[in-house]
């Protein structure tokens, strides 16, 4: 066992973790090395000093943490989504594509289609679509529109 091998293991040896976690053979090999190597033994003493002065958390930290966790309601990891008819998204996609083309074609002279789109989503200067219930960079993501917004979009675009 080289000095480098021992130095890698010393924190576990000094804390007694080596005796618990590994074979006693490894623990005894480290001990044998330390009895013959003053430099590694000095480092073992330093590590014992560190472990002897390991800070403990304030006594009130755990109760504070538990109280804080109980005070907060769990945040859902994902926004819940209600079911929509299977045809809604494809239909809306076709309509948005058609309207988007129209908007681009008539950008100089806004049309009714632009106004209809404005009730559902706004395109800001940076090209970011701000829907009623979220902001989607670059282009509208239909799944992020609320049912109401999607229904309005379908109604307006269809009309």
């Amino acid at each position: 066992m080289t000095c480098q091998d021992v130095l890698d293991l010393l924190p576990d040896w000094a804390a007694g973790r080596l005796a618990r976690d590994a074979s006693h053979d490894e623990e005894s090999r480290v001990a044998a090395h330390l009895s013959a190597c003053a430099s590694c033994a000095a480092e073992a003493a330093l590590l014992r000093s560190l472990l002897a002065t390991r800070p403990e958390a304030p006594a009130d930290l755990a109760p504070r943490l538990s109280a804080a966790l109980r005070a907060q309601t769990p945040a859902p990891a994902h926004r819940s989504r209600r079911l929509r008819p299977a045809w809604a998204l494809p239909a809306a996609a076709v309509l948005v594509l058609a309207i988007g083309t129209s908007v681009l074609r008539n950008r100089v002279a806004p049309t009714d289609a632009d106004s209809a789109l404005g009730e559902v989503a706004v395109v800001d200067d940076a090209g970011v679509w701000i829907a009623e219930d979220g902001m989607v960079a670059g282009a509208p993501v239909l799944e992020d529109l609320s049912d109401e917004a999607l229904a309005a979009l379908l109604e307006e675009m269809g009309g």
Partner: protein, 183 residues
């Protein structure tokens, strides 16, 4: 090479219950990890009160966001990495942080307070008192490897480095502490 005892199995069972909304499981996770969270925060911010705040904020954030824990690292290293980030953010925000590092105080012996001087005469306390003089990654590597018993791979996961870099940071930190003690 030692096989580090992994608290992962016990954590896994608690995590399942915590995700199901069991408050006692959350309490158990707090009890298992708040000490390490405090020490990790302390080695970054250097102040007990700030460390407790950072540990609390980081642990609450982690335990409220368990859905984001994908098990790619152990729960302990994932949690400690979040606490470490919280502590670093708090250090940047804190108006209470010490402007004068300990190194300056030690270099001007006449300005060291009586209580501190008394503590420094004790070898064990002196080693601990020297720890804040190390660069952040070195003192984090030393703290996580020695105090918490993390493997070098786990240390790297917390401090955001490779396993090899974590080992180098640890050994450089220990070597510096030894040099300072011998001065």
């Amino acid at each position: 090479m030692v096989t580090h005892a992994s608290p992962g199995d016990a954590d896994a069972a608690l995590l399942d219950r915590a995700r199901a909304g069991d408050p006692e499981a959350l309490d158990a996770l707090v009890a298992r990890h708040h000490g390490a969270a405090f020490r990790v925060a302390l080695v970054i911010v250097g102040d007990d009160a700030d460390a407790a705040d950072a540990a609390q904020d980081g642990m609450v954030r982690a335990l409220k966001g368990l859905a984001h824990f994908r098990g790619e690292a152990s729960f302990r290293t994932w949690l400690l990495a979040i606490v470490a980030n919280e502590a670093k953010s708090q250090l940047r925000r804190s108006t209470r942080r010490r402007e004068a590092p300990l190194e300056d105080e030690l270099s001007t012996g006449g300005e060291v307070g009586a209580a501190e001087a008394l503590a420094l005469r004790d070898d064990a306390a002196r080693v601990r008192a020297l720890l804040p003089r190390l660069p952040e990654k070195q003192r984090m590597a030393v703290q996580l490897r020695v105090d918490e018993g993390l493997s070098f791979r786990e240390v790297g996961e917390v401090i955001g480095s490779t396993e090899g870099a974590a080992r180098v940071n640890y050994h450089h930190g220990i070597r510096r502490l030894r040099e300072w003690l011998e001065e």
